[in-house]
């Protein structure tokens, strides 16, 4: 049951969607699904030192040439470190590049869609059809390929940014991170290549849905300029201003059956970009929630509180467990919340349903986009290569491997 669900979640992406990160990659040219916002790539972020072959637009980092190994010798285990959350419970709906990497390895890529949106390509030999056996140990997963597959075992481990640097020095093949310090450190290492991955997260300001359509105490409008300012100064990661069109906009079919009639007369679940800020930022408790383990959300919440505090000294940011935020927002423990959403989902209705499942409010909140972020893959070029599927799933290419 779970496997079937996960396959749907991972693989049922729009078939013709192009690689959204292509604007940052020399070898890709697929259009973004929306107007390309202003990017705020950090000055210390390195560009890939080795361009993929022109013939393969999905290749991010070419794998090194295979070295001769004694017959029968098992291949070395490849360690991949991620700094974003890695949770087995979220693999069916991966939230970040690390979880997508694991999901791709576990479920395989049976959907023969090329990353450039072209015709279906032939699955890479020994890659697409085979699946790996996953063994979870806390926030670490060991991915053992199927017998006879020939590929080396893969270990994906979550670590703090500081630990990630230590693991990188200790021989980790790649680190997937948004941490600027780790990225800056990689820039000092000639054996590492830093590859920007697709913009995969969009941070939004979630406010409780007001069925009456009242605007509340509108305090400011989040213009593109405001969002760009947030992306430039409030956060330290690769960020850019968010756009206005996302998967949660204009989804009337997602209304639950029992509220369909009521929702027919209600404002759309996702208001227009220029009206979203009209909902009070900190209605009620003057508190703005954020997931306590998300540094970007914390920084955004801090900036919003700083702006608010100039008029409301009681404004306060409060970190909560991510799973508690929908309920906290619904029951008024926080007046608003900064949360991150996947930039692309297989099913918008399913994504909204997952939010509602953690909330006591129907319908869900208003989501006002603020910024988009993306991670970087710091790849040890003499160890592995890296390729990307059309569904943004990463693939680790062992020495001599082919995409």
């Amino acid at each position: 049951m779970m496997r079937a669900t996960s396959r749907i979640a991972v693989l049922m992406l729009p078939a013709l969607v192009a690689c959204s990160h292509s604007a940052r990659l020399p070898a890709t040219s697929a259009p973004s699904p929306q107007p390309a916002p202003t990017s705020t790539t950090r000055p210390d972020a390195s560009q890939p030192a080795t361009a993929p072959r022109a013939a393969d637009r999905c290749l991010l980092v070419s794998p090194p040439v295979a070295t001769h190994r004694a017959d029968g010798a098992p291949p070395d285990t490849i360690l991949i470190v991620v700094t974003d959350p890695l949770d087995s419970a979220e693999i069916d709906h991966p939230r970040n590049a690390g979880e997508r990497l694991v999901a791709g390895a576990i479920h395989g890529s049976t959907q023969p869609v090329r990353c450039d949106g072209g015709t279906a390509f032939t699955a890479p030999e020994g890659d697409d059809t085979a699946t790996a056996h996953a063994t979870w140990t806390g926030a670490s997963v060991a991915l053992d390929p199927a017998p006879g597959d020939g590929r080396p075992p893969l270990v994906v481990r979550r670590a703090t940014p500081r630990a990630a640097r230590d693991l990188l020095d200790a021989g980790a093949a790649a680190v997937i991170t948004t941490d600027p310090a780790t990225i800056a450190y990689a820039a000092t290492r000639p054996d590492l290549v830093a590859v920007p991955l697709p913009w995969d997260r969009v941070y939004v300001l979630a406010t409780p849905f007001d069925s009456t359509g009242a605007s509340g105490d509108a305090e400011q409008s989040w213009t593109i300029g405001d969002r760009s300012s947030l992306a430039a100064d409030a956060v330290r990661v690769d960020a850019r201003a968010a756009g206005d069109q996302y998967w949660w906009v204009d989804q009337p079919s997602c209304t639950p059956p029992d509220t369909a009639t009521e929702a027919a007369d209600a404002p759309p679940a996702a208001p227009e970009a220029d009206s979203t800020p009209r909902r009070s930022l900190l209605t009620g408790q003057h508190r703005l929630g954020y997931p306590r383990d998300d540094d970007v959300a914390r920084a955004l919440a801090g900036r919003l509180v700083a702006l608010r505090a100039r008029h409301d000294p009681s404004a306060q940011a409060i970190g909560l467990a991510a799973v508690d935020l929908p309920a906290a927002l619904a029951d008024g423990r926080v007046g608003a919340a900064v949360v991150s959403l996947p930039r692309r989902v297989a099913s918008a209705c399913d994504a909204q349903a997952r939010w509602r499942a953690r909330s006591t409010s129907v319908p869900g909140p208003r989501w006002s986009p603020l910024i988009e972020t993306r991670p970087r893959a710091l790849v040890r070029r003499d160890r592995v290569g890296l390729s990307l599927d059309a569904d943004d799933a990463l693939h680790i290419l062992p020495p001599g491997g082919t995409p």
Binding site: R42, D233, A234, A306, Q316
Partner: protein
């Protein structure tokens, strides 16, 4: 008041008075000492608080001075400030500097007071705070300052410094978090607490920030013993005077005093109980033996001396008991001797009475015999006639002596009470004395209205024989008259009077006349009147005597009727 009560009061006074005095003195000395020690601890905590605040302010100033030099040498920051590049480095700068310097808060402001970089609140950049620097200067260079991060507010002891980089003037405002709770924790006396009292007019933001100090003064139920002023720049950027107040739980000393009082009262009660017990024990050992001794002594009587006072005690009570025992033994011996003497006196008395009565009974016989002798010598023919005439006198005398003999034979005479004619008895006594060789003349003045009285006639005869004999003896030397008279009384009784015309008696002689063995006659026994008085009493009668020198003597007897 009993001896036991006095003993209890004495023991209570002896036990309680010194105890109360000592307790009051100890309590006063304790309060004085504790108050002095308390004052010393308060002074120590006040000094510590002042030193801590001053020290934190000075350390903040030193750290800002060091940071000022580092900033001046930081080319990357210089570029960010002057050329606008590397903005994130500027925004993160204060946080990094704050971590390196150990400050709790750090803000880098431009000349107009706009926050360029905030250490405690990274995304608070761009906020204008134009009054902060001037107010900090107005407060004397250091002040309490509420600062905030995204999710909290707190209070710091703030200082400011400034520098110039190129054409830009920068101001550094840094501070060390105020930890009032830590100050209280350093107090030697746990009852002493340091709290922060915000000034009137402080905003909610000030209270919120001060609340994180760990000890914000509220409605004070504690006793404020010291106040340390320190300026506060509020969220509204007004400078006000805040106070670090040292409070003392008022119950601490009072509780100690109450405990001492409790122990003191307990000691008093214990002493009182001990005194009561001691008094009871002492009373049991002293007063009870005395009470027993008194009860035994109350039983002492001349007729009941057949017991002894016995005690084995060696104390005064034992000595007293032995003394009473000796006294009782002496009393017993004396009573024996007294009874023996009384017995002997009684025997002699009876003998003398017998002699007296016999002599009185023989007197008529002797007179009759003398009369018969005189008739025989003078007229022998009339001897038989005279004998016949005087024979009744002889018979009456013999009968009297016989009755007297039977009466003494019984030793304790028993009265033969019957109606007796007093007049007849008086005539018989006078007849018995006819012929006596005496110069006294006997006369009768008897009333015929006198009725017989209930009396023993023998006793009446003895009374009259004694009275007439005394009266005749009284008038015999010079001659005189002895008169016996009777008269009836209203109750049926009779008054019998024997009066003589003798020399009479002086008042002293009259007072002693009724006593046994008192007599003025050479051969008298001194028993006549005493026998008469006793016999009259036996007949329920009474006797009075009247006499005066030269006026004779008058004896009156009253015998009541039925």
């Amino acid at each position: 008041m009993t001896f036991r009560t006095r003993l209890l009061l004495a023991m209570g006074a002896v036990a309680l008075v010194p105890l109360v005095a000592i307790g009051l003195v100890v309590r006063r000395e304790m309060a004085t000492t504790l108050t002095a020690q308390d004052a010393a601890r308060v002074a120590s905590l006040v000094t510590l608080t002042r030193t801590t605040l001053t020290g934190e302010s000075g350390q903040t100033a030193d750290r800002l001075a060091s940071l000022r030099d580092v900033i001046a040498d930081d080319s990357r920051l210089r570029a960010a400030l002057l050329q606008g590049t590397d903005r994130s480095y500027l925004l993160d700068y204060a946080a990094r500097a704050m971590q390196l310097t150990g400050l709790s808060a750090l803000e880098i402001l431009d000349d107009s007071g706009v926050v360029l970089s905030s250490g405690q609140f990274r995304n608070d950049y761009g906020r204008a705070d134009p009054q902060l620097l001037s107010q900090l200067t107005a407060a004397g260079g250091t002040a309490l300052l509420p600062v905030r991060s995204a999710d909290a507010a707190f209070l710091v002891v703030a200082r400011a410094d400034s520098l110039s980089i190129g054409t830009r003037h920068l101001h550094l405002v840094g501070g060390t978090a105020v930890d009032v709770a830590r100050l209280s924790a350093t107090a030697v006396d746990s009852d002493l607490t340091v709290r922060l009292a915000l000034p009137t007019g402080a905003s909610a933001a000030d209270s919120l920030a001060a609340g994180t100090t760990g000890a914000l003064a509220s409605a004070a139920t504690d006793h404020v013993v010291a106040k340390i002023p320190f300026p506060l720049i509020g969220a509204d950027r007004a400078v006000r005077q805040a106070y670090f107040i040292v409070t003392h739980r008022p119950t601490a000393l009072d509780l100690l005093r109450a405990r001492v009082d409790d122990w003191f009262l307990s000691a008093i009660l214990l002493a009182a109980v001990a005194a009561l017990v001691a008094a009871a024990v002492l009373a049991a050992r002293v007063s009870l033996p005395l009470a027993d001794l008194a009860a035994q002594t109350a039983r002492v009587d001349l007729d009941a001396l057949d017991f002894d006072f016995v005690s084995t005690r060696e104390d005064e009570i034992g000595a007293l008991t032995r003394l009473l025992a000796t006294m009782t033994r002496r009393l017993r011996a004396s009573a024996g001797r007294l009874r023996d003497a009384e017995r002997r006196a009684t025997v002699g008395d009876v003998a003398r009475q017998v002699t007296h009565d016999v002599k009185n009974g023989l007197t008529p016989i002797r007179h009759v015999l003398r009369h018969l002798t005189e008739v025989e010598q003078a007229d022998p023919a009339r001897l038989a006639t005279v004998f016949a005439e005087r024979r009744p006198t002889l018979d009456a005398s013999v009968t009297y002596l016989d009755a007297l003999a039977r009466q003494y034979a019984r030793l304790t005479p028993r009265l033969d009470v019957r109606p007796s004619d007093v007049n007849a008895i008086a005539r018989a006594v006078v007849d018995g004395r006819n012929g006596a060789a005496t110069s006294a003349r006997l006369a009768l003045a008897l009333s015929d209205a006198v009725a017989p009285v209930a009396a023993d006639p023998l006793v009446l005869r003895r009374i009259l024989e004694n009275l007439v004999s005394n009266a005749v003896d009284a008038v015999h030397p010079t001659g005189g008259t002895v008169t016996i008279s009777t008269e009836p009384l209203a109750d049926g009784g009779v008054r019998l009077v024997v009066a003589d015309t003798g020399p009479g008696m002086t008042p002293d002689e009259l007072a002693r006349a009724g006593q046994d063995f008192y007599t003025t006659k050479p051969d008298g026994t001194g028993l006549g009147l005493s026998i008469v008085r006793r016999l009259a009493t036996d007949l329920h009668g009474s006797m009075t005597m009247e006499s005066a020198p030269g006026a004779g003597t008058r004896v009156t007897l009253i015998f009541p009727g039925r």
